[in-house]
């Protein structure tokens, strides 16, 4: 049993449960994946599998070292590679093994790891959820940060002060999402709720840690 699978976010929609309840879902094209490398305590000091998402990749865009690495697993079209830790002695996976979406079934609980959408340089209201000031009634304070510290003491701004800057493009983990449906034929996984990243972004779907 694989600890997870790699995939690509397709998009969100909503479906109805038989009792009429509406469920917001995200569709993920998950797999087919291949075990590119098997790391063991003897050789690497820890137990893990390196998974690669099998999809079309131009040969000229794959570096020679990577080509050789993937050939050991018997695949050439791999663009997204991630490592997943295995619990002690839990792995019967070998290099070259396929990992398919049918490892999951409805009602499984998973964590989804992805890279969030980039927001560029943003102000404090968007980046740190500051409240901002009133828009009208003569207010001259709209979206500014306000005070960032005292005066002659300490005569400096403390490190870690929340300020404007680049936001997004961060690794984000959403924990404990329910698998609503698995379509093994089309390699599609339906997960309840939202997951990080844009449509077409790569994600790791992992069995829930807790």
């Amino acid at each position: 049993m694989s600890p997870g699978i790699l995939g690509k976010k397709i998009g969100m929609t909503q479906v109805f449960r038989p009792d009429g309840q509406v469920v917001p879902v995200t569709l993920v094209k998950a797999g087919p994946c291949v075990v590119v490398q098997r790391k063991t305590p003897v050789t690497d000091g820890y137990d893990a599998i390196q998974l690669g998402l099998v999809e079309f990749a131009k040969t000229k865009n794959v570096t020679k070292p990577r080509q050789g690495h993937f050939q050991k697993a018997g695949v050439d079209g791999v663009r997204f590679v991630r490592e997943l830790r295995l619990d002690n002695g839990a792995g019967d996976l070998k290099t070259g093994d396929r990992v398919l979406v049918d490892e999951f079934k409805p009602n499984d609980i998973v964590d989804v790891i992805g890279v969030s959408k980039g927001r560029g340089f943003t102000g404090l209201v968007k980046r740190h959820h500051f409240k901002g000031g009133p828009a009208t009634h003569g207010s001259m304070f709209h979206r500014a940060p306000g005070s960032i510290g005292a005066s002659s003491f300490p005569s400096r701004v403390f490190p870690g002060m929340k300020m404007a800057g680049h936001s997004g493009v961060q690794k984000v983990t959403i924990r404990n999402l329910e698998v609503v449906e698995v379509d093994a034929e089309d390699n599609v996984l339906m997960v309840k709720g939202a997951i990080p990243g844009p449509n077409g972004g790569y994600v790791v779907v992992r069995r829930a840690k807790r």
Binding site: Q14, P18, V22, K29
Partner: protein
């Protein structure tokens, strides 16, 4: 290709019986399942379709009718299981996608011509 796969996956959630092909401006009757205690019955809501929002499984329609001189609007999720079925009563010829202007009209002025 992904689109095709998507259609297939979601088709499972599509309703077995398709609704009749209705458009904005048409008069329809929506039959909604209503639970009373442990009994279930159908309630009809008849009116003009004044807007359609979203696509796919999340599609909704806004139906407007005049009830005892008051305008009443209800929004129905078209693909929800609570909507039992929809009858097409009468077509209507309109030139826009959202008929919000009907909210300002009543009586004779709020009528729509039938489509050929």
């Amino acid at each position: 290709m992904i689109q095709a796969a998507l259609q297939k996956v979601l088709s499972k959630y599509q309703r077995a019986q398709k609704h009749p092909d209705f458009h904005i401006g048409d008069t329809i009757r929506v039959h909604v399942k209503i639970k009373e205690g442990d009994k279930e019955r159908l309630q009809a809501f008849e009116g003009t379709v004044i807007s359609r929002n979203n696509t796919g499984l999340g599609e909704t329609i806004t139906v407007r009718k005049a009830s005892f001189g008051h305008g009443v609007e209800r929004i129905f999720p078209v693909n929800a299981p609570v909507v039992d079925h929809i009858d097409l009563i009468r077509t209507g010829r309109v030139r826009r996608a959202k008929l919000y202007y009907l909210r300002n009209l009543k009586g004779k002025a709020a009528r729509l011509r039938e489509r050929e």
